[in-house]
């Protein structure tokens, strides 16, 4: 339990740093989504299912979808920065 939580936090930190340092916008969006996904699992682990659902649906799902569509609208999804 604690081990899984530690692992999840590690994944979140790595994803956050990747989102900051990555040169490709698409990688940054995917990292943000991964961060939200790990946070969702952490909420489930901490027995907060209501918050986990909101985080999973809005943070990992819709938020990333809107960010990705905004990237494609601004034509930033192909170039490397």
């Amino acid at each position: 339990m604690t081990l899984i939580a530690l692992l999840l936090v590690l994944v979140m930190v790595v994803a956050a740093v990747t989102a900051l340092l990555s040169r490709s916008h698409l990688t940054a969006v995917v990292s943000t989504s991964l961060l939200s996904l790990a946070l969702t699992l952490l909420f489930v682990l901490l027995k907060a299912p209501d918050v986990a659902m909101t985080e999973g649906v809005v943070g990992a799902g819709l938020g990333s979808l809107i960010l990705a569509m905004a990237l494609s609208r601004l034509a930033l999804n192909r170039g490397e920065d």
Binding site: P49, M53, V57, V58, I66, A70, A75
Partner: protein, 253 residues
């Protein structure tokens, strides 16, 4: 053999395996299929002192919902207003942008009406839509019994409605008239339900229908109705927002 090894994309595979390893212990710990759902028992235990009072006065099995819709119903209305303002603002900006682009592309006549996102995406969207719709409606209707509710379910419904048209032709199929009618009607109904409580002499948004039996689908008075309205409103707003984004994408490419 080495050809195959070269062709396999290792990063997504590694990611999927890692995610599976993380999800497995979590899902093994969940008591699936056991009734009643005990997810969220921590908050129920923590609120044991007030839970008797909460159940007596509201009658929702999910304690969070009785707080969100009954005790803090006005805050939820404010939240809906904020979401409405944000979606309207984004829609206005995107609509004016797309109108200008439309004129541009009409002049140059190089608009590609068919975007092919691929067989895989098309089939996946077709298969996922009914499942997503079912999950979304379930989450909305069981908001007063199990974790979840109108906001979460509404987002799922919006994505479910939007996916097939996006996979086919860039999201042009959703009728904007119907969407805005649903959104306006749901928002007005939410306020009317609250006003009826006021008319009965209770504070605004006090639950007023029969409470029924705790844990049943038709229980907790007007809370399921309120969550249904929240779900419809959120779903319609986000579907409209996604539609605007997708139309821009289609016009630009």
């Amino acid at each position: 053999m080495s050809e195959l090894v070269k062709r396999v994309e290792w990063t997504p595979l590694l990611f999927s395996v890692g995610l599976g390893c993380l999800l497995l212990p979590l899902f093994l710990a969940l008591p699936f299929g056991n009734s009643p759902m005990v997810a969220g028992e921590m908050i129920q235990q923590a609120a044991q002192g007030v839970q008797g009072a909460v159940v007596d006065s509201v009658g929702a099995a999910n304690l969070v919902t009785s707080v969100v819709l009954a005790y803090r119903g006005l805050d939820t209305l404010g939240e809906l207003a904020i979401l409405f303002a944000a979606a309207t603002g984004a829609g206005m900006v995107l609509q004016s942008g797309s109108a200008a682009l439309h004129q541009n592309t009409k002049m140059h006549k190089h608009i590609d009406s068919e975007i092919n996102l691929g067989e895989l995406f098309d089939s996946a969207a077709t298969m996922l839509t009914p499942l997503l719709l079912l999950v979304g409606v379930y989450i909305i209707l069981h908001g007063h019994l199990t974790p979840g509710g109108g906001f979460q379910g509404g987002v799922v419904v919006a994505v479910a409605l939007f996916l097939p048209s996006w996979a086919r032709n860039g999201g042009g199929q959703l009728s904007h008239k119907v969407i805005s009618r649903i959104e306006g009607g749901a928002g007005a109904s939410f306020i009317v339900i609250g006003l009826v409580a006021l008319w009965q002499g209770d504070p605004f948004l006090t639950p007023w229908l029969a409470q029924g039996e705790l844990g049943e689908l038709f229980s907790a008075g007007t809370l399921p109705l309120l969550y249904l309205m929240v779900g419809l409103k959120v779903g319609a707003e986000l579907a409209a927002l996604l539609k605007y984004l997708a139309i821009d994408e289609q016009v630009q490419s």
